[in-house]
Amino acid sequence: MDSNRLKLLEKRYWAGESSLDEEHELKEAVRNDADGVSFELVSLFQEIAQNKDQILDADFDSDFWQKANNEKGKGGARIFTLSLFMRYAAVGIILFGITFALWNIVLKDEPVEAIAQTEMTTGDTYNDPQVAFEETKRALLFASEKLNKGKEPIKEIKRFYNAKVSIAGMQTDSMNTKKKTK
């Protein structure tokens, strides 16, 4: 091949003006070690030819994600997006709501004096622990007796159920005995 033509083609190739046919012509010249082709072009075409058959293996994805995750922790400016802002705003609103609710529960719009007064009026009825103990005992006994009163019908049902089960058991036994005697 004419070395001058090859030089012209190479010039067009580097300038990005060559056509596919012209590139093909250049590749043929490189393959045949033709004169007039520069060393750079030969190296480039050889490298392209070598890498042409390369494919991504199965580990590529896992390697990539491993590298990407390692990069993540290295810091860098965090982009303050709208969704992030909305998330912070939502948390802020909820915390404000909780604070407001707690404030209302604890203080209930009452001034400090009123709270102190309530504390006094809802104080103990008895000053003597012995008397309070006796009164508590009587009150709890009252509740205990009512609880047991409520439990009575349940006990009756349980007793009835147990009796029913034992009668059914006796009937089965007698039927088995009759069968054996026959």
Binding site: G123, R138, A139, N148, G150
Partner: protein, 180 residues
Amino acid sequence: MKTRNIISLLSVLLLSISVLQAQDAIDKYFEKYADNPEFTSIIVSSKMFELFANVQVDSPENSDFKDAIKGLKGIKILAYDQSESPNIQLTDFKSAIKKIGPEYEVLMSIDDKDEKVRFYILESGDIIKELFMVVGGNGNLFLMSLVGDIDLEKMSSLSKKMNIGGMNYLENLDEKGKTK
């Protein structure tokens, strides 16, 4: 993951708020009737319950009782007897139980000829934190709120272990705990 943690934290906070709000069902009645001379009100605070540890017990029954009230933090009682003031209709059993919030669960219900009894409980997890008792009938109304860690088995075994009768409690209440 962070969002999930925040949501869990907020749920716990909201739950605590609802428990705080729900505490002491009897408080609603106390606010309204504690200063009313027609009502008998009794309060035994958590501080007093702490002092019970120093109370001298002279019988095994009292010792059993001391054991049974471990974990309790307070009692509030509000009662009135219509026969003492027949012309004043303050409140009745029906309207009393209407005021009980949905957070309370009915534990037991007894309907007798002369008397109606309701037991309500407020639970936190598996632990009963409040036992609220309403007794009504024959012109009487009795409300009792028991706060703390409540063991119903221990409660019901009290009257079996102790020979002191509790059924006449309402009769003696007027002389002992009348509000001034």
